[in-house]
């Protein structure tokens, strides 16, 4: 009996329909062809039907006047703006809630996750209950609860709760004073940027110095001082303009100042609390995945608990934490579309109104899909880059 080696190149001659290589190719070509055919059929069939039923198609409507008002916008918008701008307003609102949601739920989730590992029985139990309570109820119900709490529990604007005579809390949201627009603000923004860059430079310098000489440097305090201090100095040099726009009760509602609306608050709180429960578990699993020797070694070096967590455990735990964290960030972004249930004007809400007024469902759904895909792929790409950066360098 002949023994065939794995790298034998001479294969026995078989008929092409019995040759696994040929068959593999044929099957793949056929399947790709079928999928292509199906896609072609769906597209042409849809276009044909739209034409037959005289339903308008194409993206011309984007430049038409939208005609509807949006309650919460980061850029100037009025009913006279175009549909494209209305969709952009929705997009920015989605991004705003997603970015804030990601930052806040990461912070909260990390604290809870670490808290659950605390030797303090009460703290670790509270964190455990937090996780179990919030992740086991559907997010939509949390959103409804928080929205109801805000709109039912807080008084109307005329009976608003006043804090320090300048913050007003009512069922219309939280009104607070903001500085009136001043050219100095642009320079302060530049100052902030300079401060951030300087903080990074100081951090690198401090690290190098510590590696070389062993002398520690209060990096965090210096960084905070730089980030806050530089814009502050710019402001003082510019003559410290302090004209404020104060919220005032006029007619039905507060005018002036700025507002955080209840819909936004409810959505953000719901997203953060729900997602942080998952993140807490991811952080905990990351830390528990480390060898016990790591924390013992850190303690043996005389590091405090906080120091060992920050300098030894968390950096290593990151390797386990980052990949599942990416999924949670994507979830926050996608779950933000539940905004529609409580009336926060996000991308989906803006596009839904557009669909109903233009009747062009397919084009608009494609816009939503493209937008979410872009954002999600962006988050994925960033997290994959970060993951590679912190990955264990294997030599």
């Amino acid at each position: 009996m002949a023994v065939e080696t794995l790298d034998s190149t001479t294969r026995p001659k078989v008929a092409p329909w019995n040759d696994p290589v040929v068959r593999g190719w044929v099957f793949q070509i056929v399947i790709v062809g079928l999928v292509g055919l199906l896609a072609w059929f769906l597209v042409t069939n849809t276009l044909e039907n739209l034409a037959r039923q005289k339903i308008a198609s194409g993206y011309d409507y984007l430049s038409r006047e939208a005609g509807f008002e949006i309650g919460d916008s980061m850029i100037p918008y009025s009913p006279a703006s175009t549909y494209a701008r209305a969709i952009l307003v929705g997009m920015l609102n989605t991004l705003k809630v997603a970015v804030l949601g990601i930052v806040l739920s990461t912070i909260l989730g990390t604290l809870i996750g670490i808290g659950r590992l605390s030797p303090n029985w009460l703290l670790s139990k509270i964190c455990e209950w937090y996780v179990e309570a919030f992740r086991n109820v559907p997010l939509l119900l949390w959103l409804f609860l928080f929205y109801k709490l805000i709109s039912e529990a807080f008084p109307g604007p005329r009976q608003a709760i006043s804090l320090l005579g300048s913050l007003f809390l009512s069922n219309r949201g939280l009104y607070f004073p903001v500085p009136l627009a001043d050219p100095i603000h642009h320079w302060m923004a530049v100052g902030l940027l300079v401060g951030v860059v300087a903080a990074f430079v100081v951090k690198r310098w401090a690290k190098r110095r510590q590696e070389a000489t062993g002398l520690p440097f209060p990096t965090i305090r210096a960084a905070i001082a730089l980030v806050i201090g530089v814009p502050l100095v710019v402001w003082l040099l510019g003559g410290a303009p302090h004209h404020m726009s104060w919220p005032e009760l006029k007619g039905f509602n507060f005018q002036g100042g700025t507002v955080i609306q209840p819909e936004f608050t409810a959505l953000l709180v719901g997203l953060v609390i729900y997602t942080s429960a998952f993140i807490a578990e991811i952080v905990r699993s990351g830390i528990l995945a480390l060898n016990k020797g790591q924390s013992e070694a850190a303690m043996a070096l005389g590091l405090s608990r906080a120091q060992s967590m920050r300098l030894v455990l968390l950096p290593q735990a990151m390797r386990v934490i980052v990949p599942p964290m990416t999924s949670q960030y994507l979830n926050i972004t996608k779950n933000s579309s539940l905004a529609i249930a409580i009336g926060y004007p996000d991308l989906v809400a803006a596009v839904n109104v557009t669909i109903n007024q233009t009747g062009q469902a397919i084009e608009n759904i494609l816009i939503i899909m493209a937008a979410f895909l872009t954002v999600s792929l962006g988050i994925s790409a960033f997290m994959n880059w970060y993951n590679k950066r912190i990955a264990l360098r294997e030599r």
Partner: protein
């Protein structure tokens, strides 16, 4: 199994063939199914809402029932599909429902770009505002800075923006899709104003105010800021189905005009009035021309009632809504409801 398949195939081919030759395919599909699929609201009292027994009632529901009576001679052969404002047009376009009888405003864009056609006007409506009495507002012109609760995906949203823009009034909308959610937002005080068609405001005031507040705590402001002719909609392209929808509605108006009611329709069969004889099919011809049973109007009136009866029962003085006939009175009584003659 194979036999069944062949039979089904043959039916499809025959239907297709007859479709091109005689009537539109929508009517054929309705007849083949033996059931009219009627898109209604998710619950607007007086227009379309399920009652305590889960039976759908309302003026829009009665239009569906009357059309089923015309096509099948039986007003019960209807299946109701509750649709949100945003789902409704897609549901008709895709064929999920045959008819959309769901307090829907007839506009040019909807009639053209959406690929729809509209029947006759079921109810002449107009958009209004409702506020809490405590605010002491007497006119919509006083609403500067108000927060307005509005349902998305309707002409309501556009009229609102137009009206406030024209009057240079600033407002903030709160937009929630689900009717019960937006109502809750209004009654909890999240908004100062609730806006929708006036009929809807009366409907909500009559049946949705949560305790301890009562209907008397809310007022509907006098301004009517838009024309909202509510009409049933269906897919563009099947003219015979369109004729049946329109003339069923006209028949209900004609019946009221000639005093034919669900109570006296049997005696009316013996009437000497030539118009009544024609309408009720005693003198044949009308049903044949429309492609339905000669007793179609008899069936509508006997099973559903004439327009006046339907109005009073669902939204008029015989209902909790207590809406005046107003524009919806017959033309003879100073209203706008006018049917072309059945002859």
């Amino acid at each position: 199994m194979l036999k069944k398949l062949i039979a089904a195939g043959a039916t499809v081919v025959l239907l297709g063939a007859s479709g091109t030759a005689w009537a539109g395919k929508d009517l054929d599909a309705v007849k083949a199914r033996g059931l009219l699929l009627c898109g209604v609201s998710t619950g607007v009292a007086g227009f379309s809402a399920p009652d305590a027994q889960g039976k759908w009632t309302g003026i829009d529901v009665d239009v569906c029932r009357a059309i089923a009576a015309t096509i099948f001679g039986d007003s019960e052969k209807v299946k109701y599909v509750p649709l949100s404002a945003e789902q409704r047009f897609t549901a008709v376009q895709s064929g999920e429902v045959d008819l959309l009888s769901r307090n829907t405003t007839w506009t040019l864009t909807r009639d053209t770009a959406l690929g729809l056609d509209f029947g006759a006007v079921t109810y002449y409506d107009g958009q209004g505002f409702m506020v809490n009495k405590k605010l002491g507002v007497k006119s919509a012109k006083e609403l500067e800075g108000a927060t307005v609760c509005v349902q998305p995906g309707t002409t309501t949203e556009l009229n609102l923006a137009d009206y406030f823009r024209a009057n240079k009034i600033n407002f903030k909308p709160v937009v929630i899709n689900q009717l019960d959610q937006i109502r809750a937002a209004f009654f909890s005080g999240r908004c100062d104003v609730f806006t929708t068609d006036a009929s809807g405001l009366y409907s909500i005031r009559a049946s949705n105010v949560p305790a301890p507040q009562t209907a008397d705590d809310f007022v509907v402001l006098p301004e009517i800021i838009s024309k909202e002719p509510l009409a049933p909609a269906f897919r563009h392209g099947d003219n015979q189905f369109g004729d049946i929808v329109r003339w069923t509605q006209f028949a209900m108006l004609e019946a009221e005009e000639y005093g034919i009611t669900s109570k006296n329709v049997d005696e009316m069969l013996k009437s000497d009035n030539p118009s009544i004889k024609r309408i009720l099919g005693v003198t044949p011809g009308m049903g044949k021309a429309l492609g339905v049973d000669e007793k179609w109007v008899y069936n509508i009136v006997k099973q559903v009632g004439n327009y006046g009866e339907v109005f009073e029962r669902n939204v008029g003085m015989g209902s909790p809504l207590k809406i005046e006939r107003g524009l919806n009175a017959l033309w003879k009584n100073g209203g706008a409801q006018y049917a072309p003659p059945i002859r």
